[in-house]
């Protein structure tokens, strides 16, 4: 490997890593607030990319039906629950937020899909379409068992991924798509070529990290989320409703997934099930941060991007093996550093 190739691979790795950072941050966000290890995170990103690809080719994205199905199921499940607990009068307000609202981008999409739109509008539409999926899936799958052990929530999350992957295959088909790059420009910096696309990815990632920081540091909702992450019971006693913080966390995470999907789309072909591996690689980053620390998570995710870039140059068939095997030393290190202050785990 020459220095030049090493540099190109490095740039590539940082660009991919920057996307993993967004996903990993979303994963840590959801986990710390709701204790859900949200395995289907990558699926949401992949669905955004597929939506964008369909819009760019002037077709109606399958996401439309996916969102309609999920929103419909959520409405049915929640209505049944409300009726059973004698709160049927709350159904209209629930329907307004959890069914009508998500259906707006769906209808918009049906109206506009075949027309020629500027790329920015397509991107926004794609993100808007996927945005409600996070909170909807939260309502549908996790809310009914919000107090269950982490283990049960995790199993539900993995099952949910396979449900989404199946739906993805039904609605998007087995073909892979690549979206048009956000920009074609190429610059030469310090002896290596850097595409504007790669720079945009890093920029977007930094901007969203900044926004996230501002949100957590300076907004009331952001502080409520942090409080819930530190102590769920305590936050509840202070009048912070875990239902609301959970939904906000999932909404934010959905947004991060959407942005990640838009950014990854031009870099690699996305299939209906690409999200699983994509999300799990970000997970490796999140695990480096112990599913707690945002800065270490970001560094970890960046490192995973670099590792993937060099590993695929070395032997592309084994790159997944390399990345996931890397978990072993990471876990060993975490386990040694954590052994001294083990905490009591929850009981069933």
């Amino acid at each position: 490997m020459t220095a030049e190739i090493a540099l190109i691979l490095g740039v590539d790795g940082i660009a991919t890593g920057a996307i993993y950072v967004l996903v990993a941050l979303g994963i840590v966000l959801i986990f710390s607030v709701t204790r859900v290890v949200f395995v289907p995170f990558g699926d949401l990103a992949a669905f955004t990319a597929l939506t964008l690809a369909a819009l760019q080719s002037g077709q109606l994205p399958g996401t439309v039906w996916l969102v309609a199905v999920v929103a419909g199921l959520t409405l049915l499940a929640e209505a049944a629950r409300l009726v059973r607990s004698g709160r049927a009068r709350k159904i209209p307000s629930f329907a307004a937020v959890y069914f009508v609202l998500p259906m707006i981008p769906v209808l918009l999409c049906i109206a506009l899909a075949q027309t020629d739109m500027p790329m920015a509008i397509e991107v926004i539409l794609a993100v808007l379409l996927v945005l409600p999926l996070g909170p909807l899936l939260n309502r549908l799958a996790f809310r009914p068992i919000a107090d269950a052990p982490v283990l049960v929530l995790l199993i539900v999350a993995v099952a949910l991924h396979f449900a989404l992957a199946g739906l993805g295959l039904i609605f998007f088909g087995p073909e892979g798509f690549r979206t048009e790059p956000l920009s074609d420009a190429i610059y030469e910096i310090g002896g290596t070529v850097v595409s504007a696309q790669a720079m945009l990815v890093v920029l977007a990632s930094v901007v969203f990290m900044g926004l996230l920081y501002l949100f957590f540091e300076f907004t009331h909702t952001g502080k409520a989320l942090r409080a819930t992450a530190v102590n769920r019971v305590g936050a509840r006693l202070m009048g912070i409703r875990p239902t609301v913080t959970g939904d906000v966390a999932f909404l934010l995470a959905s947004l991060l997934a959407g942005v990640a999907g838009v950014l990854i789309g031009p870099i690699t072909s996305i299939y209906y099930d690409s999200g699983f591996l994509f999300g799990l690689k970000a997970f490796v980053g999140a695990i480096i941060g112990g599913l707690v620390s945002y800065p270490i998570t970001a560094l970890g995710a960046l490192f995973v991007g670099l590792l993937e870039s060099y590993a695929s140059f070395w032997n592309s068939a084994f790159k997944e093996v390399v990345i996931f095997s890397f978990l072993i030393p990471v876990l060993l290190w975490r386990s040694i550093s954590a052994a001294s202050h083990e905490e009591e785990e929850e009981e069933e």
Binding site: I155, V156, F162, G166, L169, F324, R334, S335, E346, E347
Partner: protein
């Protein structure tokens, strides 16, 4: 055998009858289906131990099956070795893989094991699919059948016998294991680490071994699979398949060994049904099947986490178990001389960041005494308790127990020196019987391991331990119904059960954490009577208590703490008369 025992055993007898008679009336299709059910059931059996009983989980069981299948396929096709050599390699490789994964993840929080098993599952899938020597994604074909002397297991009918004998033996070994010393330790895991370690159980070791056992069962299943289908490829060993195994264990009833077999039968039959029906409804049969199964799984976890076997068992009478038989007494510790120094807390300080929770406290407990550590809320009593029992380590100062410096010891090591404790918030295993709970207390007085438990080589020791547990139950007045489930007791009785369990460890010092908290008047009286009678038998007790009235007539000496420091210490009457104590308790400003 009584009538109710017979009815309770009916499902087992019926199941065995079906197994024996099935080949004589069922067609090839049913036999093949049963073979798959048996192969899946082995994996699910491991998950029942791991997930349902041990409270851990793995998304990598299919990859352990894969390692087992590929080991034997590779050894028998590339080197022409016997399938029995393949079995050895299959078990060694799955065991070592599980040992490594478990060692690096099991010290971390509960979700790190499943997450890393997903990663392991993906890695191994791509490894199978990309290695030339393993035939890449095309797989390995021409795997020979298993032979045993002149018998060849080439036909499905012959494999049926081999598979189901393996399943029955494995289930029997697991059944024995769960009823042994280490099995009770596995069943205690879900009660939390602090509880189990207080009996001297090394929870890390128990979890690791349980994970390895589950992996070995999966490897065994893979070996059978490879020689039944005579072909292996990566597809059946991906993470999807691992989820299917988990589905089997949980739908069947992950708390029951029978759940593994019922669950894999239910899943296989349902899959077959869907695969027959779906193609006539939709052209997307494959993904629809996935979606349907995933949705059922989520609903199952939301509404029926206990599974099929649990809902059937609710309708069956509980088997009436006999009272434990008399057995030889277990050896008991020689207690130190009455009045000699037992526990010495020496200028102990505990800081949490800037907060000083315990500040230079010292006191002693002598053999044969009952000493109470009292103080108002927030005085630092519970922190002090944790410092003595080893749950926390002090910032400064020393703790000595029976002449040994135990300052830096963990709870397990301290427990093994002869200090037994109870918990302020009762920590019992509600789904285990009274006697099983108390036998947990005797864990470190017994020694038989996993293998001895599975093979029932532990029976003499078990009888002694059961007898000892029964003796402690009687001593505490709970001897009437030892097979009752602990969760059915009232709070007062649960606290007494905790004391019986602590006594089963034959402690030199009994450490009680707010034993009277939440008890009704009569329950308090019963507790006080029990503690008095224990003192009469020479047991030394240190109790941390909030309730002044409860300790006044009971204890020999009282140590009073306030705001982290020792306020005073002395005889109950003197402490009661102490103005400072009255102020501390009544919040007097004078």
């Amino acid at each position: 055998m009584s009538n109710s025992s017979l009815i309770a055993r009916l499902p087992l007898i019926a199941g065995l009858l079906v197994l024996v008679l099935l080949p004589s009336f069922a067609g090839t299709f049913a036999v093949t289906l049963m073979n798959y059910i048996g192969i899946y059931a082995l994996v699910a059996l491991g998950l029942v131990l791991l997930t349902g009983i041990g409270g851990l989980t793995s998304f990598g069981q299919a990859s352990f099956v894969g390692v087992g299948a590929y080991s034997t396929a590779w050894l028998t096709t590339a080197y022409g070795l016997s399938p029995w050599a393949g079995l050895v390699l299959a078990l060694v490789l799955t065991g070592v893989a599980a040992l490594v994964i478990g060692t690096v993840t099991l010290r971390l929080g509960g979700h790190f094991l499943p997450l890393s098993t997903i990663a392991w599952g993906i890695s191994i899938y791509f490894l199978f699919g990309n290695m030339d020597s393993l035939g890449r994604f095309g797989g390995l074909s021409g795997v020979p059948p298993i032979t045993l002397g002149p018998i060849s297991f080439a036909t499905n009918g012959a494999m049926y016998v081999l598979i189901w004998i393996t399943v029955c033996i494995s289930a029997l070994l697991c059944w024995n294991l769960l009823r042994s010393r280490e099995g009770r330790a596995i069943r205690s895991l879900r009660g939390g680490r602090i509880m189990s370690e207080s009996f001297g159980i090394n929870t890390f070791r128990i979890r690791l071994y349980t994970f390895v056992i589950a992996a070995l069962l999966a490897g065994l299943s893979g070996w059978l699979y490879a020689h039944m289908s005579r072909f292996v490829s990566p597809a059946p060993f991906d993470v999807r398949a691992s989820i299917d195994y988990l589905f089997m264990a949980i739908s069947g009833g992950s708390g029951y060994l029978a759940g593994a077999i019922v669950g894999s039968a239910f899943t296989s039959v349902a899959k077959n049904f869907l695969q027959d029906v779906l193609p006539s409804i939709t052209s997307n049969a494959g993904p629809f099947e996935t979606v349907i199964f995933s949705v059922i799984f989520i609903l199952l976890l939301q509404y029926a986490r206990t599974g099929i076997v649990a809902s059937v068992q609710r309708w069956l009478p509980r088997r009436a178990l006999p009272m434990p038989a008399e057995a030889e007494e277990m050896p008991r510790r020689v207690m130190p001389e009455p009045g000699s120094l037992m526990l010495e807390v020496d200028k102990v300080v505990k800081r949490f960041g800037g907060l000083v929770a315990v500040n230079e406290v010292d006191f002693t407990v002598r053999t044969g005494e009952i000493v109470a550590l009292i103080g108002p809320n927030g005085a630092g009593k519970s922190t002090m308790f944790n410092l003595i029992s080893g749950v926390l380590g002090p910032t400064e100062g020393r703790v000595r127990f029976l002449g040994q410096d135990i300052t830096s010891y963990g709870p397990r090591r301290i427990a093994s020196l002869g200090l037994s404790r109870t918990f302020q918030h009762v920590k019992l295993r509600p789904t285990m019987s009274l006697i099983d709970n108390v036998m947990l207390g005797a864990y470190r007085r017994t020694s038989s391991g996993f293998l001895a438990g599975a093979l029932r080589l532990n029976q003499a020791e078990e009888r002694r331990a059961r007898h000892e547990a029964m003796r402690q139950l009687r001593r505490c007045g709970l001897g009437d119904n030892p097979h009752e489930l602990a969760g059915n007791l009232a709070l007062g009785q649960q606290r007494i059960l905790e004391i019986a369990r602590a006594l089963a460890a034959d402690p030199a010092l009994l450490l009680l954490d707010e034993p009277a908290a939440g008890l009704r008047r009569l329950e308090k009286k019963a507790l006080a009577d029990l503690l008095r009678s224990l003192r009469g038998e020479g047991v030394t007790i240190l109790l941390v208590e909030h309730d002044m009235e409860f300790v006044m007539d009971l204890v020999d000496r009282i140590v009073v703490m306030e705001f982290g420091s020792k306020l005073t210490e002395g005889l109950p009457a003197d402490v009661r008369a102490d103005k400072r104590v009255q102020d501390a308790y009544l919040g007097g400003t004078a």
